[in-house]
Subunit: 216 residues, 2 copies
């Protein structure tokens, strides 16, 4: 291959603009944000089963994607069957589950991706450990605050019925506590408002926080 | 806020183009690839300590970034101190370390990111387990094939000297085996050729494999 047909010429050209890639051998978060036009962040959705965490996270993700932003949802579907498939539901395993999700979220954050996590994550201490992994402003706790009565009435997966029947032990809200965030960055009333309203609320917050460009 | 100033209007507008986001509520890999103009893949760099895995992975990452592609490097710096900080260097822990790296790589793959992993990963069985997590063609094993003699002579971190002195037990290549890939997608002679040549070799392969656009 002669120089004229060499791929990625700027890696081989001699001269002032030589080897531009080497100058960025460690591509960092700031460089990614500049190239993509948006910051990255961890959007940590927390709430009772049936509160709409996963639905809202996926809808926000879709809206971000439509705007061309780098974004990704971590949820039970892609975590519990993969990275955390060795973990059960003991206290220690639940804590380790949330720890790993926090660490993986940090990797996506570093990669310039707005990462949305959708797990019950009922314990304040676990959420605060995930928050402590990253800098101030990078962790946005979003409380999907539908009441237990609403979640139980929806019971989309039939889990509340099983929990009431004693078929599921330590079910959050029934036989295990949910420690609601005291000062989340955002509280979304997923029990009363529409999905559309909730998505707008999150996007407006992200715009105001300077993570994504504000709508014109 | 009146309709005229509502952010993200396409989420609220009534009509034929209503709620465009909802149609993509599960944004998938194909949609990401279409939007970004490149496929995602796992580039699994393997080789002895000092063979240049991390240097090559970071240089390829920088070159991909310069071309505007979504890419990210997983290496000891961001894995061993975070996601895998609970793991030591026993056989079981090394296996679990590689397992988690494989699972995290799969998440990045799903997120549309070209993910580059730079770990010794000396055992064929561990690498094959990572490969088996994803579809054919998504896992590109890249053997950084510098000879032991070259790596030991470089000894950039002083680890070979310590291993020879018995201060490090089970050091790959000295007191623990390195199972070289028999049929890697790519073998790079990082012992003889320049970093520039190695980067071009990888990029050319990615272009030919249809993962990234081929240079014009």
């Amino acid at each position: 291959m002669a120089a004229t047909s060499a791929p990625y010429g700027d890696l081989t050209t001699q001269g002032a603009s030589t080897n531009i890639a080497w100058h960025h051998a460690s591509v960092d978060r700031a460089a990614r944000a500049q190239q993509r036009g948006h910051r990255s962040a961890i959007l940590w959705f927390t709430g009772l089963s049936g509160s709409g965490k996963s639905t809202l996270a996926n809808a926000v993700n879709a809206a971000l994607f439509e705007r061309g932003l780098a974004c990704y949802v971590l949820d039970g579907d892609n975590i519990r069957h993969g990275l955390c498939k060795d973990l059960g539901f003991s206290d220690a395993d639940r804590e380790e589950n949330i720890r790993r999700i926090g660490e993986v979220s940090k990797l996506f954050l570093d990669a310039g991706v707005v990462v949305l996590t959708a797990f019950v994550s009922p314990f304040k201490a676990d959420r605060d450990r995930a928050r402590a992994l990253v800098a101030n402003g990078d962790f946005i706790e979003i409380h999907c605050a539908a009441d237990l009565a609403v979640c139980e009435q929806r019971d989309t997966k039939g889990l509340y019925a099983k929990a009431r029947a004693g078929e599921i032990k330590e079910f959050t809200g029934i036989s295990s506590p949910y420690e609601a965030p005291e000062q989340p960055e955002l509280r979304v009333d997923t029990g009363r408002q529409s999905l559309e309203q909730s998505v707008e609320q999150v996007l407006t917050h992200l715009g105001a926080a300077g993570i994504i460009p504000q709508a014109g």
